[in-house]
């Protein structure tokens, strides 16, 4: 009999068998990274809006308080999207003829809503409540990022369950004094962990066990 296979086959065949181990684990790692990448989580991806509204300008430059537009954030699960009326309060005088704002004026004229594109969106089986998070000292910035530096809005965090759990397992690391929740540039004092622990105690933040119950977020 003559050789069926060339010498190269020896190397190849060994690679296929013993290399498999490494190849498989490499692929697995890749997947794990991809699902956490902005490509899938849409974190950091700018959303186009019918009106090029700039948080940077309104929050950063002018310094309007979050609650002026997101009025129900302290009372309801839903932070609230400002009705056209809110925009018109100022823009009936300011920039009242700028072409960018035409959709707003149109909306007010024809009594038809502006359709904003949702930026921070949780799956429908997740029940998130803004009001309680504020009450417990979770700042806007913690989840939404420095909106005062965002000319157009993007999602700051992955909003994955993993990410939620980080804080629910150790709130002390993320909370701040209640009066600072709307602050854009608050910095924790030295030894943030102890500081947080004290706050958590004063704000009676529930046990990690309770905070990681499934029904805390899913019903």
């Amino acid at each position: 009999m003559s050789q069926t296979f060339s010498r190269r086959m020896n190397f190849l065949s060994r690679l296929t068998i013993f290399g498999a181990v490494f190849i498989v684990s490499a692929v697995a790692l890749a997947i794990i990274e991809i699902v956490r990448s902005p490509y899938l989580t849409e974190a950091g991806v700018v959303r186009l809006q019918p009106v090029p509204f700039s948080h940077k300008h309104h929050v950063g430059d002018i310094g309007i308080d979050c609650r002026y537009c997101h009025s129900s954030v302290e009372r309801s699960a839903f932070a609230g999207i400002p009705p056209t009326k809110t925009c018109m309060n100022c823009h009936s005088q300011v920039w009242s003829d700028s072409p960018e704002l035409e959709p707003v004026r149109a909306s007010f004229r024809n009594n038809t809503s502006i359709e904003w594109t949702r930026v921070n969106r949780l799956p429908d089986f997740v029940y998130f409540d803004h009001s309680i998070h504020l009450a417990k000292g979770v700042g806007c910035v913690t989840c939404h990022g420095q909106v005062d530096a965002m000319p157009l809005m993007w999602r700051e965090k992955s909003l994955s369950m993993e990410w939620c759990l980080e804080c629910h397992r150790n709130p002390a690391r993320y909370i701040r004094p209640r009066e600072q929740v709307f602050a854009m540039h608050w910095q924790p004092p030295a030894a943030p962990q102890d500081f947080g622990q004290k706050l958590a105690a004063t704000y009676k933040i529930l046990s990690t066990e309770k905070l990681t119950n499934c029904s805390t977020c899913h019903r």
């Binding site: 050789q3 010498r7 020896n10 990681t212």
Partner: protein
């Protein structure tokens, strides 16, 4: 100096006993780099050819330990450290419930180590081998018994090897080309 093209010289036999005898003979002549090829395992032949220590059992044991420890660690981490949950009022570390998976993983890893270990020690897979150059060698997987004294043996001398093998009344003696 001999031609580098030569891989070794093989003799073909009819009976297992003969090839065992041949191995013994070659060994007494001081040949070390040689191997025998048979259609089924022949008792004692490997030892005659100078097979000493069998690492496989050790490898399998190692696999078993890895699987066992790894298996339990995985479950302990998942249910006690990573996300402890109250499941039907059972303790987080319900070790009795972790036994089945631990056991299965022990077996699994050990078995994989056994199979892969065997291949690795045997330098398999090796679909290409000089011996395959010799047509008669096909019978090694049927009913004939071969012994091969390899050229890399320091005491290798084609004529001497020929004499030795011819002397064992084989069916034939063939020179195996080193394939380029």
């Amino acid at each position: 100096m001999r031609t580098p093209a030569l891989y070794g010289i093989v003799a073909e036999f009819n009976h297992p006993e003969e090839v065992v005898a041949a191995a013994r003979a070659a060994r007494t002549r001081g040949y070390r780099f040689m191997d025998a090829y048979t259609p089924f395992p022949v008792e004692g032949l490997a030892e005659e050819l100078g097979f000493r220590f069998n690492w496989l059992p050790a490898i399998v044991l190692a696999g078993g330990v890895v699987g066992c420890v790894g298996g339990f660690a995985l479950q302990y981490y998942a249910s006690v450290i990573s996300y402890p949950l109250n499941i039907g009022g059972r303790p987080n570390n319900s070790w009795p419930a972790f036994i089945p998976v631990t056991f299965e993983l022990t077996i699994l890893v050990a078995a994989l180590f056994a199979a892969l270990g065997m291949l690795a020690l045997n330098r398999l897979p090796m679909p290409h081998h000089p011996l395959f150059n010799e047509p008669r060698f096909a019978l090694a997987s049927r009913n004939r018994f071969f012994i091969c004294i390899e050229a890399r043996d320091p005491r290798f001398d084609p004529d001497a090897v020929h004499d030795l093998l011819e002397g064992l009344s084989p069916i034939g003696v063939y020179e195996i080309e080193q394939s380029r």
